[in-house]
């Protein structure tokens, strides 16, 4: 590079202290002033986990939309739709999953307070996280019980299209919930080692709540359509 290059302008730390530090001024709300006065810029780049979680949720949404349209089309393609009554344990599982979202929010509140250094307690606030984890496991186990109940009625995967979709939708959802459980385990692990990032916790929580919301949608779908 040439030697007549003027010294670059000195950057002041112009960051909003309540926002976390970042290594750049990316972020798609950013505007670069035409006069090149970078000093005037604020730092808005969101932590990648916050953007990333929405990317993940978008693709999961598309998958379940695909399954939904498959269900709708399949229902219309032949006269072999046989009404099936949903196993009662599903409603219990729903309550458990909703409860787990509540406990997760409680956990977040405590973790936020802990990370802000405001509490003087010595114990890390993992209690509510463990409860959420337990409720999540209970949900997955409960789904398994639902399958057993269905099997007891003689309804297997291939028995009729209703049962096929029941198993497929609940199984794929349960698989994603298991992924969420993995996320919770990771959060607990990191909290214990004091390396948990706020964005990580937020992303995992968003995912978990989405699983709850998705379940409500699926329950309605199963109830109305099957």
């Amino acid at each position: 590079m040439a030697t007549t290059v003027p010294e670059p302008p000195r950057m002041e730390e112009q960051r909003d202290p309540s926002r976390r530090a970042s290594n750049g001024n990316g972020g798609w709300r950013n505007v670069v002033p035409a006069d090149g006065n970078l000093r005037a810029l604020k730092d808005y780049s969101p932590p990648p986990a916050s953007t990333g979680i929405w990317v993940v949720l978008a693709s999961i949404t598309m998958s379940f939309l695909a399954f939904t349209s498959a269900l709708v089309v399949r229902q219309g393609s032949a006269a072999d739709w046989r009404h099936l009554s949903l196993p009662w344990v599903l409603y219990l599982n729903t309550a458990v999953l909703v409860a787990s979202s509540v406990t997760l929010e409680l956990a977040r509140r405590e973790v936020r307070a802990f990370m802000g250094g405001l509490r003087t307690q010595t114990a890390r606030p993992t209690r509510w996280l463990y409860i959420t984890l337990f409720l999540g496991l209970f949900f997955v186990a409960g789904q398994y019980v639902a399958w057993l109940q269905l099997r007891a009625q003689g309804l297997y995967l291939a028995t009729n299209p209703n049962s096929s979709f029941f198993y497929v939708l609940t199984a794929v959802h349960a698989l994603h919930v298991t992924g969420g459980l993995g996320g919770l385990v990771r959060v607990i692990h990191r909290l214990n080692k004091s390396i948990l990032k706020k964005s990580s916790l937020d992303a995992t929580s968003t995912y978990w709540h989405f699983m709850g919301g998705l379940w409500i949608y699926l329950l309605l779908l199963l109830w109305i359509k099957l």
Binding site: A2, V5, P8, G24, V55, A66, V73, S194
Partner: protein, 605 residues
Amino acid sequence: MNENISREVRAMHDMSGHAAAVHHAPTSFIRKHVFSLDHKVIGKQYYGLALAAVIIGMVLSWLMRIHLAWTNAAIPGLHLMSTSGAPGDVMTPEFYLQLMTMHATIMVFFVLTTAPFAAFGNYFLPIQVGAEDMPFPHFNMMSFWVTFVGFLVLMASFFVSEGPTLGGWTQYAPLSALGSAGGPGEGMGVVLWAASIAIFCVGQLLGSLNFITTTLDMRTRGMSLWRLPLSAWSWFITSCMGLTAFAVLMPACILLILDHVAGTSFFVPSNVVINDQLQPHSGGSTLLWQHLFWFFGHPEVYIAIVPGMGIVSHVLITNMRKPMLSHRVLVYSMGALAVLSYMVYGHHMFLSGMNPVSSLVFSFPTLVITIPSTMVVLIWLGSLYGAKIRINTASLFALGFISMFISGGVSGFFLAQPSIDIMLHATYFVVGHFHMVMGVAAMFGIFAGTYFWFPKMYGRMMNETLGKAHFWLSFVGTYAIFMPFHYLGLAGNVRRYQAFVVEYMQPLIPVHRFITIAALFTGAAQLIFLYNLIYSRFKGEPAKDNPWQATSLEWSTPTTPPPHNNFGDKLPVVYHDPYQYGVQGSAGDYIMQTSPEKVTTPDEA
């Protein structure tokens, strides 16, 4: 006690500041070259996978072309590829279809989606935005290995007793869903195909996650969205498409596998009789598969071509020494292509038996999508006006891309209309169209990117003489191969036929022979590229940091190849738009994005 906590708490607070998952330079061989978290290594791994795939895919196409031209001929050694597919080295009809299916599947997924997007994107997107790496390096590493496993699963279908599936890369139901009753390879072959593709989808979704978050969250100081190079925009737009498209293909593949292994009837209707046996399925919807598949399938072809557009734009600008006529129009056009691509998928189904009104409904956006495509081509052409075009292998391939894209694109005018589709559907016209506009064009984009970025990736230049020879033979050769496909299609030559026993197609066989010879020559020419690649890697002329006098961030790395964290101790600061060419720069007629010089044009100097 409290002190300890608050130190901890402070540490966690600070920890939350680092956007990049900073990973230290690896030391072991495994960590450096096999299970690497470094996006550059992952990019090269993807490129290697695509290279292996394209060699296999091309060899398959040679076998297909030889058989089409000389149907009863024995191809020496063919019996080694299959126990039952080539008795006496003569290809059976089913083996032809199996090779065809594998050719298409390998090319579309493991070459055209992998090389321009996953390979170059992984390597250069973080550098072009000014980041140290992608934000989720573990997911990134997983995305490559998952894709690789998908490739192995697909290849495994060559080794099962009945061989791979023969249903085409489109795997239409019920043929694909019936199991072995449908034909050789329709049992395990289909299951492996569907599993491989489902696995591939997972890999791509992990990749899209990284690409999107890198573009939105990891840009360095001064790098606003409008200062991103066009290649970065194309990777970003493509990853948005991939996110939604692959997420629909995966459920479709899962349902297909269930129809095979679990006795469900998602896609198989009632009353299917094969070999006088009523099949044990009922009520499924044949068209459901087509809707799900093409909802993915059409965006997929744009996933294959949009990165090529970005790479070609990027390469052209450097070699034209002026920016595009309108940077924003190009970005908006690529975005429009992405959005519209979801609305046109039914043009693959005009004659499928869906409601004929739907055919018209899909036909309109298909015609409208011509507008952004034409805009892109016209901006390129308009930008060439008044330029100072440097002719080198990279720019030749970039210009060749434009020619190919035009040729392949205009045949789309025909196929977009349902009434004309009555005559051209399932003929060689379609095959010519997609090979030119997607296959060859994307390949040219990959070649342009390779010749352009090789110096940065390996610190050596590729040989220009060999490169130009490769270009000339490929450019003329691919035209010789694929232009005649359109004539064949107009004459009614049906596709996916392993031989032409129909009377009205007999006069077309000499055309097939011409095409086959052109294909074999053009294929042989690719060996020049392979040789050049390997030779230059070790013995190529050492390259400077910025051999093309280019402006974007990848040319400002402190070393070539870039160091582990791309920019050394300090992340770059960006002062300019990406394409400051034709200006009064201290180093020449350009000003790099990272240079704090003020932009003055020669008039103002």
